[in-house]
Symmetry: C2
Subunit: 310 residues, 2 copies
């Protein structure tokens, strides 16, 4: 059994996208009532990711902040985009060699897709999977999206932490609050913090078990014409059906002239981020995932050793 290292600092982030209000107003609430997120064994810090974009009520000013963290952040480099400058600031504060390095980053997002309560993970390590399993056991409606192959493990805000996860909730329009989802997201954050506290206190958390995850496979764009204009919408049968199985030949899109366009791949998939507003410009109508049962292997003494990952 290796020496168990403690988690010292957790960073809660909202407003990495300036028009995703649930995370933003949760961070504001926590900043007003810091005792809510205080735990005895670690420090919890909060951050509004992109305050300038929030003020403008836009996802970003110049570029998506959640794609800006794959850089080296040389001090000399003249950065032009606001989000690059902001990412460097954040890196200097919370990065591994920053002033207050974050052991864990929890980045709060929301989606116009029916994502329910989703925990996004990028890695298969036992600590991350146990966190996911713990949340699933507390609230079985929570879905686990494994985005390891999507590129986000390299360039997202959460990639800044030694351990990083995102919370993605929906459906909710950009630029609005929705009380029910706000309360559910708040409860989920408390359970994440509770897990980290339990971990630090050496409580045995889980034994070997299985976890259902939805693993990123690829994205699908809308049908477009030669000028890049969208020619079809998400089919009504697929709208809001995130995490449900989509079988070969199931309707996928409905073109403006009434033609049904079906899912053509050979195997069943579980699409998510269906009709996410922010992804129209990225050429993404949905992300296809593969539903998997992942075994969680823990140490012989049933103790997870985060030291392997920190």
């Amino acid at each position: 059994m290796g020496e168990t290292k403690k988690l010292n600092r957790v960073l809660l982030v909202g407003g990495t996208h300036g028009n995703e209000f649930i995370g933003i107003f949760l961070i504001k609430k926590f900043q007003q009532f810091p005792h809510l997120i205080a735990r005895s064994s670690f420090e919890t810090q909060t951050l509004l990711g992109n305050p300038k974009a929030f003020k403008a009520n836009m996802r970003y000013i110049d570029k998506d902040l959640n794609r800006c963290f794959a850089q080296h952040f040389s001090e000399e480099e003249d950065l032009i985009a606001y989000e690059d400058i902001r990412a460097r600031e954040i890196h200097q504060q919370f990065g591994s060699s920053g002033e207050t390095p974050a052991d864990v980053v929890v980045d709060l997002h929301s989606s116009t897709a029916n994502m329910g309560l989703t925990l996004i993970i990028d890695r298969d390590d036992a600590f991350t999977l146990q966190l996911a399993a713990y949340l699933s056991s507390v609230n079985p409606s929570i879905k686990i999206y494994h985005s390891g192959d999507s590129g986000r493990s390299e360039d997202s805000f959460r990639s800044l932490g030694k351990l990083g996860v995102a919370v993605e909730v929906g459906p909710i329009s950009q630029g609005v609050l929705k009380a029910e989802l706000f309360l559910k997201t708040e409860a989920l954050i408390h359970e994440i913090l509770n897990f980290l506290e339990k971990f630090n206190q050496g409580e045995v958390l889980f034994f070997n078990q299985e976890l259902t995850v939805y693993r990123y496979v690829k994205t699908i764009d809308y049908p477009r014409n030669k000028s890049g204009e969208i020619q079809a919408m998400i089919h009504p049968h697929l709208q809001f059906r995130d995490y449900h199985p989509l079988h070969p030949d199931d309707p996928m899109f409905l073109s403006f002239d009434g033609t049904v366009i079906s899912y053509e791949d050979a195997s069943t998939t579980h699409p998510i981020f269906i009709n996410e507003a922010a992804y129209y410009e990225k050429g993404i109508a949905m992300s296809l995932t593969k539903k998997q049962q992942l075994p969680i292997h823990v140490e012989d003494d049933h103790q997870i050793n985060v030291g392997n990952f920190l």
Copy 2:
């Protein structure tokens, strides 16, 4: 009986707000397939209201185009805001003294609120009420919102026409399409055009009857602190309950610290535009309306004479 005047030109507008995609993509469809909106007795024209805002995927560039039509549009004046310049262009084309004056303007909008299929009218004249009654009879789920006292009869795009109505559909996020609502909105447009055709062809449409309308009373802002920051959300019991009665002491808002804020007025109201994303910046959490039965008086020969209004 007065001489019945014909309607010569109908203008269908989408994208007065650049991030309301249903109207925008319907206009694009109609521009590609103009026979769909052709009728024998009048000309139907189409317009993308704010193409620059659509390209930017924003409601507007400088200011809300749907508040820009109360001006005199002097040719000499140096206009600065893009939407003022655009409104003058549109006025010069489709205004009463324009090149192709529009007898009827139908302006297509969408909302993050649960507006269902709403026809917005600003006036009580028999022609407008008969149009509303006709649509209600074809599809009883259509709601009629009378915004006469809201100020929109003065400054909205639809105020440009001799007769103007707006179609407001929801709930839908900004910047997305939703096939089911797209199809329903398209069907509603066809029924509007069918009514205008019947009118021009002198078909007796309706006898005296009553019509249920929801008449604008006032708007309610979110509870805010001294810096203007929102302190509460729409209460979960009220979210998506547009057009339902809200009684005195019913919950209205839920503050971030869990306090319930109730509706305090003395009489029951029917709120609409509940949690509309675009209205946060306008200081509007919802619009309160009064549900009314309006009598529709028609001429003795049961013929509506639009000549009184044109």
